[in-house]
Subunit: 113 residues, 2 copies
């Protein structure tokens, strides 16, 4: 399944942070996991992911460390406390946003509690 790339915008970083909540991961692995956990709906390109990771590290949402496995070096990313808070904020934002979309799609009949 392929999406209007626009939909991805604004959600990618949240999705990446979400992946790191349970365990440290390296880039290549994240792409696989994103596809798997979304039911093969998300196919994030490397050219999208790596810049995001670098930006998030600069912002202090994740930290990284290198680890060699069988001579193949992987760069693992770890969710920081600051990143966890950012994830919570993004999730809340997403909830509000998708609620708003439902509201408009349903013709405004949606009741906001």
């Amino acid at each position: 399944m392929k999406f209007d790339k626009g939909l991805m915008a604004g959600s990618s970083s949240m999705l990446v942070l979400s992946l790191l909540k349970k365990e440290d991961m390296y880039g290549y692995q994240m792409i696989e996991q994103l596809a798997k956990r979304s039911g093969d709906v998300f196919e994030m390109g490397e050219g999208t992911l790596y810049p995001i990771l670098h930006a998030m590290e600069k912002s202090g949402y994740v930290s990284s460390y290198r680890q060699a496995i069988n001579g193949r070096e992987r760069k693992y990313y770890h969710l920081t406390e600051r990143g966890r808070k950012q994830l919570d904020a993004k999730k809340e934002e997403w909830k509000q946003f998708s609620k708003g979309v439902e509201g408009v799609l349903s013709g405004g009949a949606y009741a906001f509690a």
Copy 2:
């Protein structure tokens, strides 16, 4: 409420099409309606809306006609058959996408039927 503008991307045109489903509207009115129907969640700027409308007209999703009310001229937009189909497609895309996001956020536990 203000959002990471990225979230809006990819959904704006769907939201606009959705507004026109029930009745013809003019630009200024759409901005008001979007805010109202979303529970004051969406505040679309004019600089965002007008280019979208022009592009959608060029694509044949909407048609327009001018009508003067009290000397103030309004440009009304009407959803075409082609636009209605596009709306249905976009809605389906949105459903799949938000499902995917939920799947990732919940750690992959989401069951895809």
